[in-house]
């Protein structure tokens, strides 16, 4: 299929590729995304050290596992959001999707719908919200932020309307089982967390789809000219984001043993903060699952450390806002550096 190369280059080809990856390793230190992940590791290490000194309970295996378990819902939504933002998209409706999912699940179970059917319906709700977002952005060409702000408002309102703003107690063995089972000291949630990130890292780094996501976010027109199925990829990413939020809604219903229309409120901010703090650029083309993972860990440690130090949750909200602003400012700085390079 490919042309015969000139003999002089042919004999060295294998060697060159090796040499070549070595050369890129030294360049790596100048790569902003590499620096950013190093920076995140430093911040995480600093926070762990700080809280370890401040509280005797922090640096214990059981506490760290609890941090992981309580970060799972955020983590599960942050992974597809990373792909979405890298592709140049954006989804702020995830909090609302959690709300409509958990409220629907509560109502369906209260109405006597069997567990499996109720969960399928809820997953279809997430899929539907994702498809609606995708249609607005991809077909009707609405700005992603505005489109998903709109659906966010619709489904938040709908969740409050359906539940009359009330928190409903949900007692269900299956939901308890998928969220509270322990394997030794490790919560089943931690396994979900690990599973989602292993799959996401493999997707990002080794598959055709992963490459397409970066190409679409980097230069959508060039991607179109290269014949990539841009719309299908965008649809898939918005749907993945919606689905992850409805899964999050199901898990939260089990974790909290209740369904409240307000349970998704904090997630809008924390999901976007995790992805941007993790190094994704709002203009698309840059970001990584590893970065998001580190950012999720930082947010989880912050939350856990603050509650161990008995700081009120309002302080956490303030910290989250600061983290988001720092992340966005840093993103701007990196972009300026890239443009100069």
């Amino acid at each position: 299929m490919f042309k015969a190369a000139k003999p002089r280059s042919d004999t060295r080809s294998a060697v060159d590729v090796e040499r070549v990856s070595g050369a890129s390793a030294s360049r790596k230190w100048l790569d902003p995304s590499f620096l950013q992940s190093q920076g995140l590791l430093l911040i995480l290490a600093g926070l762990v050290l700080f809280f370890s000194f401040k509280s005797p309970f922090f640096f214990a295996a059981s506490n760290l596992l609890a941090v992981a378990a309580s970060s799972t819902v955020l983590a599960i939504m942050a992974a597809p959001q990373t792909f979405l933002i890298v592709s140049g998209g954006f989804d702020v409706s995830v909090g609302a999707t959690i709300a409509i999912s958990t409220v629907s699940l509560g109502l369906l179970l209260a109405a006597g719908v069997p567990m499996a059917a109720a969960i399928v319906v809820v997953l279809f709700i997430g899929l539907g919200v994702g498809a609606a977002n995708a249609t607005l952005v991809v077909v009707l060409r609405v700005n992603p932020l505005i489109a998903t702000l709109g659906t966010m408002s619709i489904f938040t309102g709908l969740a409050h309307f359906l539940s009359s703003g009330q928190t409903e107690v949900v007692r269900n063995d299956f939901l308890r089982w998928i969220t509270k089972t322990q394997v030794g000291p490790v919560s089943v949630l931690v396994f979900m967390f690990i599973g989602v990130y292993v799959v996401s890292i493999v997707l990002e780094r080794t598959t055709v789809l992963g490459r397409w996501v970066y190409a679409i976010g980097g230069n959508a027109e060039a991607a179109r000219l290269a014949g990539l199925p841009i719309r299908r990829v965008q649809y898939a990413l918005y749907i993945a984001s919606g689905l992850s939020a409805s899964v999050g809604g199901v898990l939260l219903t089990g974790i909290l043993q209740s369904a409240s229309p307000r349970v998704g409120d904090t997630f809008l901010l924390s999901v976007v903060t995790a992805v941007i703090l993790g190094g994704a650029s709002l203009t698309g083309g840059r970001g990584s699952i590893i970065g998001t993972l580190l950012a999720v860990a930082i947010l989880g440690v912050l939350q856990n450390g603050f509650s161990l130090l008995l700081l009120p949750s309002s302080v956490q909200t303030i910290a989250l806002g600061i983290a988001l602003i720092v992340a966005v400012v840093f993103d701007g700085v990196v972009r300026r550096i890239e443009r100069r390079a």
Binding site: F2, K3, A5, K6, S9, D10, S13, A14, D16, V17, R19, V20, S21, A23, S24, R27, L203, T206, T207, V208, L209, G210, R211, W212, Y214, A215, G217, G218, N219, E221, A222, A223, R224, L225, A226, G227, L228, V233, G285, R286, E338, A341
Partner: protein, 263 residues
Amino acid sequence: MTVAPAPVPVLEVQNLIKRFGAIEALKGVSFTLGRGEILGLVGDNGAGKSTLLKIVSGALEPTAGSVMLNGEHLEFGNPAQHRQAGIETVYQDLGLVGNLDIAGNFFLGREVRVRDHRGPFAFLNNRAMRLQARDAIARLHITIPGSVAQKVNSLSGGQRQAVAIARAAFWKRELLLLDEPTAALGVQATAEVGHLIMQIAKEEGVPIIVVSHDIAEVLKVADRVVVLRQGETAAQLVGAETSASEVVGYITGTIGPQAGPAG
């Protein structure tokens, strides 16, 4: 002055019209291209050269008219289909993705997959792609320091152009479209691209349309020259029989149907 079409034209462009709102970028352009032919497409800024190339490459849909490749109509507005049919293009703005590496750009949309699996979840065979991209660039004799694993963002304008040319030369089967391929290249590299164009057309028999503002370079390689003027064909000239001053005359309108008293 005009040339009889080759018996079996590889490319046949018929009466292409393209409007952008009120602007009529192409007002009914027709020409044919035979095997191994090199067509120089020239004209002033805004004459419609890039628009014409983009329609042939599938990037743009014409308002009217048709394009046939080897006697078969091509659908419009679907670059993937045109590429599948064997048409490769170096766009004026190159069509490279800056945040992917050279090899990634080379194989974008046509990735080498582990065990040739289909579908978006197939694994990439990065090693194979890097080796092939490296060899294809070496064939162009344009040196790009570092590896094909470096991001296109980090390359100079000329190096990027070289990557785009090497990519198109690697994939072309039926037709190669070059929109100002040497605009950012140095003297040496421009000569290399000239050699490459001759080799592809004359040894491999693949016809080429090359857009350029460098009339001397065009006349060095072109069998025929089509001059576009405000979206219309001002002239079709035989490369060996024309001169730079004649071509420039048609470009500027001092020669031709609407010309004033020509000196």
